[in-house]
């Protein structure tokens, strides 16, 4: 294929383009599950953090705790906690995930996998994480469905040590 673009065209368009942002494409907005065929691997790597953030958020809300209070009581960095709940792609600090596992009394290794800090060895855990993220919606108050989803996920996490 031959493309001919004159220097004048480039100059004029550079002027019109200015400092505009030009990004386009899928898989750019959080959260991401699925996507184009052929991108499953990417989703699988990035996906578990959605479940992790949602898990931390629901566990915190079930206890009626503010982010600040949870950071204080679990002895974790407040900024890391905010990122965990709000950004599915955020990779939390290892210590934060360990502290949260201790605080919520769930398996460390399981939560590490869900947080994307350890290789996802357990396919069932991955599936449960996805199911949990899909079932739960962040609202002001836990619905019975959210509560049930949370309980089910806690049970799965608690099985693994």
């Amino acid at each position: 294929m031959k493309i001919e673009i004159s220097r004048e065209w480039c100059r004029r368009m550079a002027q019109q383009e200015g400092d505009a942002e030009i990004g386009a494409g899928r898989l750019a907005v959080d959260p991401v599950f699925g996507g184009d065929p052929g991108f499953d691997e990417e989703s699988r790597i990035e996906g578990p953090n959605v479940a992790f953030g949602r898990f931390v958020s629901l566990m915190r809300r079930r206890r009626g705790m503010s982010l600040e209070r949870l950071a204080q009581d679990a002895d974790v960095d407040m900024a890391d906690l905010v990122e965990i709940e709000r950004d599915p792609y955020h990779k939390p600090e290892l210590r934060t995930a360990c502290q949260l596992a201790n605080f919520f009394e769930v398996s460390r290794s399981g939560l590490m996998q869900v947080a994307g800090l350890a290789e996802m060895k357990d396919a069932k855990l991955f599936d449960e994480g996805v199911r949990f993220a899909a079932r739960s919606e962040p609202t002001a108050k836990l619905t019975p469905e959210e509560g049930a989803a949370l309980e089910a996920f806690v049970a799965v996490l608690s099985e693994r040590n």
């Binding site: 100059r11 019109q16 942002e21 386009a24 907005v29």
Partner: protein, 209 residues
């Protein structure tokens, strides 16, 4: 493999003058090496600056998680998914991957007709005003979209192209490129879908003539 190259120009904002650049009709290992060795570290530093400045996350670049090596690994070598890149001053300044098979036009009067769908397009971090002040080069987006239009014409799609714009780029596709905004697409992360008709493609080319 010999990669076809088109000579183009980018505008160097710092030196306030145009600079010779190359539009490569491919994304090669060199581009992926630039992405890993140059783009990612610069993006990381820019993210740290945004974080320190308490910039709201919705204003952070939505493409910050993109992994071009993974995209290229999946799509490279597929005839239906050619890539394009721009090199200037020895560095990759922008990349684009398109699809020529799976997508059809949606705009009224063009429905069902073939088009070139821009799967991914991204500027180098140092060319992005929200990350660098001043950004280094201007013109990357226009040249890459021009390449998509040229490919569309080559395939006898008459310049029709389509894409899902990241929210911060909506204005570029609506105004600079003159594409039609078909609204938020719930099946594509609620990104706005833009399409360029053959007439709009001609108008886009004429804009810089």
């Amino acid at each position: 493999m010999i990669v076809p190259v088109t000579t183009v120009e980018l505008f160097n904002v710092v030196r306030i003058k145009p600079e010779a650049a190359e539009l490569l009709h491919a994304i090669t290992e060199q581009q992926l090496a630039d992405w890993e060795g140059e783009w990612v570290p610069e993006l990381f530093k820019a993210m740290q600056r945004l974080r320190r400045a308490d910039v709201e996350r919705r204003q952070w670049p939505q493409s910050r998680h993109w992994d071009w090596r993974k995209k290229a690994a999946v799509l490279q070598g597929m005839l239906a998914n050619p890539g394009f890149s721009i090199v200037c001053d020895g560095l990759t300044q922008g990349m684009m991957i398109v699809d020529t098979v799976k997508h059809q036009a949606r705009i009224e009067g063009q429905q069902g007709k073939h088009l070139v769908y821009v799967m991914f397009v991204e500027n180098a971090p140092w060319n992005r005003a929200e990350l660098f002040d001043p950004p280094r080069y201007r013109g990357v987006g226009s040249i890459l979209i021009r390449a998509a239009v040229a490919l569309s014409e080559e395939l006898e799609f008459h310049g029709r192209i389509g894409l899902h714009s990241l929210p911060q780029a909506n204005e570029f596709y609506a105004n600079t490129c003159g594409m039609t905004d078909l609204g938020a697409d719930p099946e594509h992360d609620s990104l706005r879908y833009f399409e360029m008709t053959p007439e709009q493609a001609q108008a886009f080319i004429a804009k810089g003539a």
